[in-house]
């Protein structure tokens, strides 16, 4: 029964969104845009993919970002983790950086350190944002 509900939620999520977050075994759903918390407008760096899965019951998210310009750029990121009731758990992560070469794609991974995490947001900022 639990798995049926889970599959239904997953199906609704994938059908409703044009750029869905790819998931395998859990109830994370929604578009990539719905998972982003942007500080300013990311003018030159695009999030091209978000993948999520559960490993040993811990939610693992992999993000793929792409620098659309031919210049070096920098991206700041951190994940926020939420439980089934929408409460943020495990506290705020420290900000991390991803240096991006011109026209370069980079992947980075976040691991929720609580098995109660069922959802996430990816907070992003770049020094070359517009609207900083």
């Amino acid at each position: 029964m639990k798995s049926k509900v889970f599959c239904m939620m997953l199906m609704i999520g994938l059908t409703a969104c044009s750029h869905p977050v790819q998931t395998t075994e859990h109830a994370v759903n929604g578009s990539i845009e719905s998972k982003l918390l942007l500080r300013g407008d990311l003018s030159y760096i695009k999030v091209t993919d978000l993948r999520a899965k559960k490993t040993n019951d811990f939610l693992v998210v992999e993000a793929e970002v792409y620098n659309t310009r031919n210049y070096e750029d920098l991206l700041y990121y951190r994940f926020k983790w939420f439980d089934a009731k929408g409460f943020q758990i495990t506290g705020d992560e420290g900000w991390k950086t991803v240096p991006l070469g011109g026209a370069q794609s980079q992947n980075f991974i976040g691991v929720a350190t609580s098995v109660n995490v069922t959802d996430f947001k990816l907070e992003l900022q770049s020094p070359n944002n517009t609207g900083n």
Binding site: T55, N56, F58, V60, Y76, R78, T90, D92, E93, G94, W95, K96, T97, I109, G110, V111, T113, S114, V115
Partner: protein
């Protein structure tokens, strides 16, 4: 003449009143729950700090999060239900002073809060625990009941978590490059097999200012 004097007196009264209001107004504090000279402030400890190229809190966050995530999602954790660990302080093999107790503590806190592992006393904790048991045993203040017979009941750890941080420093003109590598390992204490290991690298580059 009388009118002039009255006007003057009224003026003095008004001035005194205004001054008092002004003085009272100046001494009134705002609604802000802070008392500050303006030279000291609190910041966000989670932001990326690059004031110098020395090891800092941002590096600590990056290393601890990376290593914790790696261990929790490793096959070792898949095959064990809440395994017991003891942790040894990360060794500092860099050329700079780093309080590696902070790295060890950060990793232990994150792992413990995951509720996926259990930590037993490390060598340092052991001294404190034995001293406390001895103090309670020798003091007439405590009841002597079987419940208080604490020795010989501690559970040993199945795994030992240990590691070291190293660095490579390179200078070229005004540019300085520091590469930190934290390597952690888990040893099965029964078999001495290294059952998990991972490393995380951080590169920090700085340029000497002209001024």
């Amino acid at each position: 003449m009388m009118n002039n004097t009255a006007t003057l007196l009224k003026g003095i009264q008004c001035f005194t009143l205004l001054s008092m209001v002004a003085i009272t107004g100046c001494s009134t504090r705002t609604n802000s729950p802070s008392l500050s000279t303006g030279n000291v402030g609190y910041g966000d400890s989670k932001e990326v700090e690059t004031l110098t190229n020395e090891f800092g809190l941002t590096d600590l966050h990056i290393l601890a999060e990376s290593m914790t995530g790696s261990l929790l999602t490793s096959p070792l954790m898949a095959s064990n239900s809440k395994p017991t660990f003891t942790i040894q302080e990360v060794k500092n093999k860099t050329s700079e002073y780093i309080d590696t107790k902070a790295i060890t503590n950060k990793i232990r806190v994150k792992l413990q809060k995951s509720n996926a592992v259990r930590f037993m006393s490390d060598a340092e904790d052991e001294v404190g625990a034995l001293s406390e048991i001895q103090r309670q045993g020798q003091s007439p203040r405590y009841k002597k009941t079987p419940k208080n017979q604490k020795l010989g009941k501690a559970e040993g750890a199945s795994y030992r978590l240990f590691g070291e941080i190293t660095s490579i420093v390179k200078r070229a003109g005004d540019i300085m490059n520091v590469d930190y590598t934290l390597t952690l390992q888990v040893e099965d204490l029964a078999t001495s097999e290294i059952v998990w290991t991972d490393e995380k690298e951080i590169r920090k580059t700085s340029e000497r200012s002209m001024f």
